[in-house]
Symmetry: C2
Subunit: 596 residues, 2 copies
């Protein structure tokens, strides 16, 4: 089997870090306790291991192709997607009102990880559909909801996000696509959109494009952008598909990775204008888009965890099989499997600890999201919302940057074989390379963390997190185990460095924006590192307690060892980043532009 | 122009860090002063910029191909190789006795960097020929030398290194190819060799394979391996090409990168035995192979610097051209080129500082090599040899690991465009990924650094280097500039951390090999980081002095700014690595194998 879903690890996090039993006490989640989580995850594992994962290599070897405006996906993908939709997987987290299952994000995120581990390229279509659903739920009129939501939630139709234009990437103020109002209340949309994931495909149904465009006379910049639904096929009153709309795929990109996922250039309005429907109010498009982007950013963070998990599994399997050289400790008097070698072990532990750390962070973020949306107490909702929003750039930024490190180590563990495409380790290395770029580069996430999430409240949310970390340190220090004490020490050093940086960012944010933003990405990575390490420290305590009760002792010991490794080898990076951010801001901008 | 050779930077290092004027005082290098260096580098730049660099993309799009045992290289490569040979570039560093130019490695290494920046795939053929020349010079009989050396040095024939077999990668003790002695003193060679770079091609001439194989009855393990010359065509007495030998290319690999470079599977002896000639003495093959590998390891380190330089140039050019978003400091009241943004600047500075740091280290290592081979005083030769040998695993390991970081940042600077293959940034990311693997993985380099270079002499060479670093710190601290003082501080912290680690490695090497080797790669990276940072600190002082004299002030200021950035942002990683190595050794091996 090429992928085995880490159901046990996921359930451990869901139960002991995210507190699924508390989530099940929230209104609307009464059915969503541990047993539901277990049942859903096991079913999801079966589907992804059996149906989706086996298509991953084929998607790389035989990518989506374009001919005369028609995109043909990799053989097998269409059928797998049909099974995905029929299995009800698209609706997992979506409201029961529109045919969804209304499960917590805490459970949905784990399912999302499995789908992405199985096949990043395949998973992108559902990921974008989720975004479209989110946008329509938030800002769509009742009519738009009635027309589109049920079919999107069932997976019969798919969704896309159309932001980027050749001159407008990270900078959406430069969007030029235009939408001209028509007497019947619709709009005619004109323009070119690029990098549109699953902008065209052959899965059937309709493609519901959510498109940013300007209405003539709208203000300049981001405050003059509106959001439109532009379906590939117009929808008849009875819900059936009508005429082809004037949006056409003029090419797809030749990419480094995720090759099975068609990345379309879409041309709107070349034959008179594509009919579009305004979502919400005029000129508030970016605001709505951010809602769907926040969901998508979290989901891309999960993609990072997912590809890291799969790269780890492949590397670990290889290391247990490949025989090469004698162990340095003399434990075997002949060439042995390479997992005996300390550096191979270091690489595997690094891969494992980073993956588990980011999963723990993402799972806890998901539970905050669930509480922020379902808790009866407004104050608790607010706190959870602030915590979740602080974590989104970390989940997106840190987990995806981490996936570059993990997939690179995955190649390295394979030695020369890793560089040969047939081995498969290189695909993860290539696929993951988009994750730190799309849905906002790591720098865009870091800007969000610095500006909206740290400087705006003067560092309050950040300090509240540090206080919680400190509480965990105290709990660790009171334990008798050497592991807990060692982790407490590293966590404390990291927290103090974090607080220094938060103070620096909060202070410099306005006084010297270049200095604050020069350290933005290191600040994001440092903070993600701390939060992931903190969650692994919590998992260490839970695991020690369960092991003491005799529950699944080997598994619990592995949890402890992984948390300890993380603290020793990864949390130790934090103080170095503090020095670079706080003392090194000036040297980032010291060289004049002409000197580059 | 897709690549502009950094001749000025190279000459700065050659003059002010490597001391070319001192090298020109060594016997045999009388002609090799600064002016020669300048003339050679300028000519070399012209050739590589004009002829070799433009073929780099073609090599990726239209890789070498195999059909019926024949390998066809990318169109244009054969002609460019002809020009390379005719230009006398293959013989640059080789003895004049065999038609070479006998120039110092200090100059040759810079030329090697240019060739590799221009085209890693193309450069591999000369790189392997260099290795074959080295092996024959060291251990070949007069007859072998007479038959092969002149044609290899002129580039008319090419060379290969045949070590790897399917079961024998890093572990050469498992080599199974065999060589049966014949009554005429030759051998018949049988076996399968894999991953043979330029093992077959269409450049013409002969291919001189240097092959590791066992003679029947030889001892088990690495002490029973001999080295053979097995030419593709037997050579007639008059030096002309004779019969085809029984070595055949049965396939080439489909790789992640360096696609134009054919990676051959070679089958020896399927038609009765390939005729081979013993190099040196029986069973000493590994020893000879190490000589050629040490040259090749240094050269692969230079490949890392080369691809980093090219990735940097591409990213810097893009950042000065691409317009996106307003600067955070309000310096431009509209969307501006992305080089205005602090995080883009941080990425470019990181790429630049790492590249310059590794180049400085490699250039100084080359000058030590030159002194080790040409200095009249045996004691000076010995010291330089020890220093050079300590640096080889750093040049190889650190520069190549650094190239992974730099080429990844290169993709990131390009945003979404970086993921599109047409942009070209992705090629560097893919090409560089082999560099930490071939000619000994980073772990193999680290084993060499830990075992032969550190533990064996109880850390003496390492401590001698630390003492030199400390001397540089003193020189920096006595300067008036804030930059020099800041660099002194970071260098001091890094040196102290280095000494802690050296003591740990020297002490644990025998007592607890797992603990010592668990930190081997972090130790290598930390040490490479320190040595590169130290050389940039020296370059800062030279640049300050020259700027004070009014010499090329902008260039010198950029040198100072880059050294300062390195100290603030990269040297700061060293203490973190110390903590992980010294305190974290146990957690590397804590998880039992079954738990992976």
């Amino acid at each position: 089997m090429s992928y085995r879903a880490p159901v046990k690890d996921m359930l451990f996090d869901i139960r002991h870090l995210a507190g699924i039993d508390q989530i099940a006490q929230l209104p609307g989640f009464e059915e969503a306790g541990f047993e539901t989580a277990q049942a859903v995850l096991e079913e999801c594992a079966k589907f992804n291991e059996g149906v989706v994962a086996p298509l991953n290599v084929a998607g790389d070897l035989q990518p989506s192709s374009w001919k005369d405006g028609v995109v043909t996906t990799t053989p097998g993908f269409k059928d797998a997607y049909k099974q995905y939709a029929e299995g009800g997987w698209q609706g997992l987290q979506h409201p029961t009102d529109f045919g969804g299952q209304g499960l917590p994000k805490t459970i949905g995120a784990a399912c999302g990880e499995m789908l992405n581990s199985a096949n990043l390229s395949f998973a992108l279509c559902p990921l974008l559909t989720d975004g479209a659903i989110e946008a329509l739920l938030t800002a769509g009129s009742d009519e738009l909801k009635a027309t589109y939501l049920e079919k999107l939630v069932s997976g019969e139709w798919t969704g896309t996000m159309n932001l980027t234009e050749p001159q407008a990437g990270s900078d959406l103020s430069m969007v030029r696509s235009r939408a001209e109002p028509q007497p019947d209340g619709t709009y005619k949309v004109f323009g070119t959109k690029i990098f549109i994931t699953y902008g065209e495909h052959d899965y059937g149904g309709n493609i519901v494009h959510l498109v940013l465009a300007r209405i003539p006379g709208a203000p300049e910049g981001v405050k003059g952008i509106s959001l439109f639904v532009v379906p590939k096929f117009l929808v008849n009153k009875d819900g059936s598909l009508g005429a082809r709309n004037d949006v056409h795929c003029v090419s797809i990109e030749h990419k480094l990775g995720i090759k099975a996922s068609p990345t379309a250039v879409l041309q709107y309005g070349d034959k008179g204008g594509a009919i579009g429907y305004l979502v919400g109010q005029e000129n508030r498009g970016l605001e709505y888009m951010f809602i769907m982007m926040n969901a998508a950013r979290y989901a891309v963070g999960v993609q990072g965890i997912a590809v890291a998990e799969r790269a780890y599994q492949k590397a670990a399997a290889f290391a247990k099989e490949r025989v090469q050289s004698r162990p340095v400790d003399g434990s075997v008097n002949a060439s042995a499997t390479i997992i005996h070698h300390p550096d191979v072990r270091r690489m595997l532990m690094t891969m494992r600890a980073l993956t588990e750390g980011c999963r723990a962070m993402a799972t806890v973020a998901a539970s905050a999201y669930d509480a922020a949306h379902h808790h009866p107490d407004a104050e608790v909702r607010k706190q959870n919302q602030a915590f979740y929003e602080f974590l989104v750039p970390l989940v997106k930024g840190y987990s995806t940057e981490m996936s570059l490190e993990v997939t690179s180590l995955g190649v390295q563990v394979h030695g020369g074989m890793g560089f040969i495409e047939e081995t498969g380790a290189a695909q993860y290395y290539r696929d993951s390379r988009i994750l730190t770029i799309y849905e906002g580069t790591t720098a865009i996430q870091a800007n969000d963390l610095v500006g909206r999430k740290t400087a705006r409240d003067g560092g309050q949310t950040a300090q509240a997190i540090a206080a919680q970390v400190e509480k965990t340190e105290g709990e660790l220090a009171r334990r008798s185990s050497a592991d807990a004490k060692a982790v407490a020490k590293r966590l404390g050093a990291a927290r103090k460095a974090f607080l220094d940086v938060v103070a620096f960012i909060a202070q410099q944010g306005k006084a010297s924006p270049n200095a604050a933003f020069a350290g933005s990405v290191p600040y994001l990575l440092l903070t993600g590192n701390l939060v992931a390490g903190w969650q692994l420290a919590r998992s260490l305590m839970a695991a020690e307690d369960l092991a003491a009760k005799g529950e699944d002792v080997d598994f619990m010991k592995a949890k402890v060892a992984t948390a300890r490794f993380y603290a020793d080898h990864i949390l130790t990076r934090v103080p170095a980043a503090r020095d670079a951010i706080v003392d090194g801001a000036d040297s980032v901008m010291a060289l004049p532009q002409e000197a580059f």
